[in-house]
Structure formats: C-alpha cells, structure tokens
Subunit: 136 residues, 2 copies
C-alpha cells in the first residue's frame, strides 16, 4: 500500500532536539504508547529507534522499530491501518513516549481496535473486545 508522506510543521532543529532529549535503552530503543488523540483509548505499545522517531516527526506517519524483524516498521504499510501523528510527548524521565495519533481501523494485529483486550476479571482472564470489520 502506498503511503504518501504527510509533512508536519516540525523543523529539523525541533526533530533533532527531541531525539537528543530521549534516553534510548541499551538496544537503542524507547517504548512508545500510541493513544487515540480524541477518545483517549490506549491502542498499543511498541518501540522506536532514533531513526523511527525522526521519520515519525518528519513524515507525520507513525513509524516504529520491529524488534522481531530488526527493521523500521511503518505502521499500516501492509495493512493500511496507519497512524497519523497528532502530537508526540516525552515523559519526565525522557525514557517513554506518548504518541497521540489518529488510527485508521484496528491498531492490533488481531484486528481489534486496541491490543489491551484481555481483562483480569473476578472469574478469570476475559476477552473484552472482538475483532472489528476492516473498514478498508
């Protein structure tokens, strides 16, 4: 699927200031929480490298680092379920990112809207969300 870049309003100096601020772990990665910007729904957690932070801030499309594939993971590149960047926030320790996004369709690879569909309920571990119909 073709993903035309969305330009952001962030100048290169700001992008580099953000990358410099971040504390990446020994693998060069930082965890990123993706949150739907308008509903507050926590969609997923994944990892970013310095390169994926740069690409995300520059293109306005959220790009992670796939630890299993050891490669940039442009969210939605194959599924079409892209995340448009609304705002990136850095936590007080500079070691976690909160990425406010506009998610197209499901964020989860199980085709659920978000990845946190297993609830610890009194009667055990309960699945609280179904896969959604693909809007594409």
């Amino acid at each position: 699927m073709d993903l035309p870049n969305q330009s952001t309003n962030l100048p290169e100096a700001t992008v580099e200031a953000a990358v410099r601020r971040l504390k990446f772990d020994t693998a060069g990665l930082i965890p990123a929480i993706a949150q739907q910007h308008d509903t507050g729904e926590v969609l997923m957690v994944a990892w970013m490298s310095a390169e994926s932070v740069r690409e995300t801030l520059t293109t306005g499309r959220v790009c992670y680092w796939s630890r299993s594939r050891q490669a940039l993971w442009r969210k939605g590149e194959t599924s079409g379920h892209v995340q448009r960047l609304v705002e990136m926030r850095i936590d007080c320790d500079s070691d976690t990112l909160l990425v406010l996004v506009d998610q197209s369709g499901p964020a989860c690879h199980t085709n659920r809207r978000n990845c946190f569909y297993t609830s610890v309920a009194p009667d055990g571990l309960r699945i609280i969300a179904d896969p959604i119909a693909d809007p594409n």
Copy 2:
C-alpha cells in the same frame, strides 16, 4: 503514610492465572501503563515484577517495582498519591499491562498530574503542564 489494604474481588486462582499469562523480560519485569479510568489520561509508565502484579491484584493498590531502588514501590506510600486499581488489562503479546486506576493527586514525581508534560511542538520542546497543588 498508612495504606490500608483494599480487598479486591479477585480470587487467588485468577491472580495466579494473570501472573502465569504474563511474559516478563530477562530482568523479571513487565511495563505497566497507568491510565486514569474515567478520563482516559495516561498518567505514567512504570515496571512491575510478578510480586508487584500479585500485590496490586490482591490489595487493589497499585504496586510497581522500582528499578533504581530494586524494591517494591507501593505507589503513594510516602507521598499519599496512591493509585486505586480499577482494572488490569493485558495486551495481545502478554508483555505490556494497562492498569486502569483512580489516581489521588499527581502521578508524577514533579507533582504534575501526569508524566507526559513535554510536547514536541513546532517551536521546540514545550512544557504543557504545571505542577498541581497537593490536595492532601
């Protein structure tokens, strides 16, 4: 500060089923996102050990693992800014927790309501929240 236990409705079998389901990293830890249950605000991210997951689910008070102190970190034990557990959710890979909480006062050690107060804005890194008055 005295933190009386809140009992939860979770039987021990459910607590143990949750712990068994989780994939802890090589240090025996799993990241946990704390989200205010009613507003959707992402408050903080911290780490839990199997023991802190058990304590959180059993007492109804959120308990993390402090990597710097290498000890259980009963949130609010000294500050009074406790997190009452509303619901714990597990993600699709069983390697991240979403903890829905009711947060008393600020969640952040800077006395801000949440830790994600630095925004990557066009004009640079911007502080978007002030410390709040301590309600206690």
